[in-house]
Amino acid sequence: MNFLSLPFMILMVILILFVSLIKNKSLVKLAFIAASYYFYSGFGLTALIILILMSYFTYMSGRIIAREKRKKFGIEKQLLIATVTLQLLVLIFFKYFGILTMPVGMSFYMLQAISYLVDMYRGDIDENTELLDVLLFIAFFPQILSGPIMKAKEFLPQIKEHKGLRKEEDPKGGIDFERLSFGIQLFALGAFEKLVIADRLSVSVDSVYLAPKAYSGLSLLFASLGYTLQLFFDFAAYSNMAVGVGKLLGFDLTVNFNLPYLALNPSDFWRRWHISLSSWLKEYVYIPLGGSRKGKIRTYVNLILTMIVSGMWHGSTINFFVWGALHGIASAINRFFGELRKEGRFDLHLPDIVSRILTFLLVSFLWIPFRAKDLKDTLIIFSRIFTLKAGINYFYVYTWIFAALLLLIQALALIKNKGNNPIRVLPLNKFYGKLILALLIIASFMFAYFGNGAFIYSQF
């Protein structure tokens, strides 16, 4: 089932009505779980069975870890390591061995499952968490395909205190129109980003990356810019829609993006791009590896290792490893110079605008191995770009248009909001708010590119 389909809209209407009318929390939870499994069953019965089994395994493991914690000489740590390893092995089996098709969204829900176990071990969540809560946390349909990746300690309390669409300060009733309006707007914005921008950009990016040898160096450079935009808008679209749907159902999912192409340096980029994954990696990989507590060299190594994990989480090919490693090295170099500057041993300070442009260029170039079919194609693309090889000249008009649009938003962010997302919730009680929303919805259909509906990140 696709977010932008009639069955999904019907499902949403039914759920919103149900959540608004039914006060019994268990019933609401059951409805969410049923809806999530119904949504997910569209990707195959086997995938659904694996999801349910993994969820139940996670729940039971959590209970055992909690029980062991209560004992004086418990083996909770060993249990945690064993269960997390087992989960990782399942993920690796599907992702790397290619014997069976990996269930959609597995990379995302497995991270959530691991977060549940670690949070249980750390005592960050209630050890008596109910089975229904765990099932819902792992399978919650708005984010199961591509995140945002929620941590157990952030999501489980929301299930417990769930108020649906009612105002928080008014538990007796009263629809929270602000939440409703915000949810609808985020969903509409996501639909626009996906249908109009990302899918349209994919037209040119896919064709160029399919046959890079045919295109001129400049065209490849331009297509790489196109991919930089496409990936952002595609993933931001999904995240916006997921957060919007979450809002409509009474949940606050993590906001995943904050104008990442305005980042000042590689570390700043990861604070703005796929925020939920970066935050997950920081908490469950970087910090357990020792973070920055074990000396400078170890910090750099930890940064690189964390980014390699990130790369390998994205995909099984060598390209993702290279992409992750290069990002890790870039972050380590950035940290190295940052520390030198702190110690007063390095004085060069680039103007912010130059730093932002350099970071953008670095990130854009690193998307090339991320997108290319294999390492051979990656090298072909880089060599054609840097030698300005002749070939088909193809400069896609929409890349210009959407680059200009993003530039405009980023300029607004710099001027009005210190480089943070400048887009605000429209006041739907005012005429202009209604007009802008109506224009956005009509434009989404009018300029939609139909033919490439899959979200990029759902394949990871």
């Binding site: 064709s207 045919a214 896609y396 033919g451």
Partner: protein
């Protein structure tokens, strides 16, 4: 209650205003010609005369229809004129009008030779439709010196070649004047409303695109049978039939679709019927222009791809400016040589 009514009214006003704004935008993005369908004539339908069509989804074209209901710059039909018949490639509603091969040809032919080219192409009028309307063309344009038929496909089976001989003919009662004068006030009002609301047609087109998963509709599937004696006979029957209807110059221009391969080469998506088709044309005194080699040369020497635009993908969709220019040059060569051979 008062607030609710006010909000409802505001929503209605906002939606109306948004639709109005988008409708205005359509006049520079997508405002297609209105078509007046007919059965008996040179093609399957006239364009509403004097209308401006705007097409921005693939390439960009802003063109006007002439008073005869064709997509021309209202050229007078001089004595020695050629007709261009074909489908969307010839109609060229994705290029500036002056870049279409018929118009490039016109420019070339202006240079002292007194010839003109008149474009009667219409989207969906593939080769078999053009041949079925062949008598219609002759009836509607009896003075034409020659007929140029453009096609991107020669992929037909024997039945299709034979069916292409079934003629729809020409009916004076379906001339543009007759159709326009036979229209009721209500019909005219409906047309004018449609003309003013391109957004409705844009949204309708989007809806159809959303529903269809198969992409562009083609007249026939690619022919997968043998090119045996029966096939040759059917092909020859059709071309002999066309030749028998008139002694005007007949030129068939074939331009294959192409694809870009992973290796970086450009591949012609030909079916293998081109050679047979060329032989049959020669046997029936019909000029056959096959653009295959010219397209390949242009790609190998200058990386020029004959299809695709800067707002779509390369090597897909319709023929672009470069292809139209190449086609015009090849047709021009043929016309010139015929002109020279006509001279005493």
């Amino acid at each position: 209650m008062k607030i609710l009514i006010k909000q409802m009214l505001q929503w209605m006003a906002a939606i109306t205003a948004a639709l109005f704004i988008m409708n205005l935008f359509c006049f520079i993005y997508y405002s297609p010609f209105l078509e007046l369908k007919r059965e008996h004539g040179a093609n399957t339908g006239f364009l509403l005369p004097g209308m401006r069509g705007v097409y921005g989804m693939e390439g960009y074209c802003m063109a006007g229809s002439d008073k005869r209901g064709y997509v021309n710059r209202d050229l007078p039909l001089e004595k020695d004129y050629y007709l261009v018949a074909g489908a969307s490639h010839s109609e060229g509603l994705f290029l500036p009008v002056e870049d279409r091969f018929s118009d490039v040809l016109n420019e070339k032919l202006k240079e002292g030779e007194g010839l003109k080219v008149y474009n009667i192409a219409r989207s969906g009028n593939f080769f078999s439709v053009v041949t079925q309307h062949f008598d219609g063309i002759l009836g509607e344009f009896p003075d034409a010196k020659g007929i140029i038929i453009e096609t991107d496909s020669l992929s037909y089976d024997t039945k299709a070649w034979r069916d292409s001989m079934i003629q729809v003919g020409y009916d004076e009662g379906e001339s543009i004047e007759a159709i326009m004068s036979g229209m009721s006030s209500m019909d005219k009002l409906k047309l004018n409303i449609k003309r003013c609301l391109p957004l409705v047609r844009e949204l309708h087109k989007q809806f159809l695109t959303m529903q269809s998963s198969s992409g562009e509709l083609r007249e026939s599937d690619v022919y997968k049978g043998d090119f045996d004696e029966e096939y040759k006979r059917a092909l020859n029957e059709l071309l002999a039939f066309l030749r028998s209807r008139t002694d005007k110059e007949l030129i068939i221009v074939f331009h294959p679709a192409v694809s870009i391969e992973e290796s970086g080469d450009m591949k012609l998506l030909s079916t293998g019927a081109e050679e047979l088709f060329g032989e049959a044309c020669r046997a029936n005194d019909i000029e056959f222009i096959d653009m295959s080699e010219r397209f390949l040369e242009a790609y190998e020497e200058e990386h020029i791809v004959p299809m695709g635009f800067s707002n779509t993908t390369m090597a897909s969709g319709h023929t672009n400016k470069a292809a139209h220019r190449m086609m015009a040059e090849e047709i021009y060569k043929v016309i010139r040589s015929e002109k020279e051979s006509d001279q005493p």
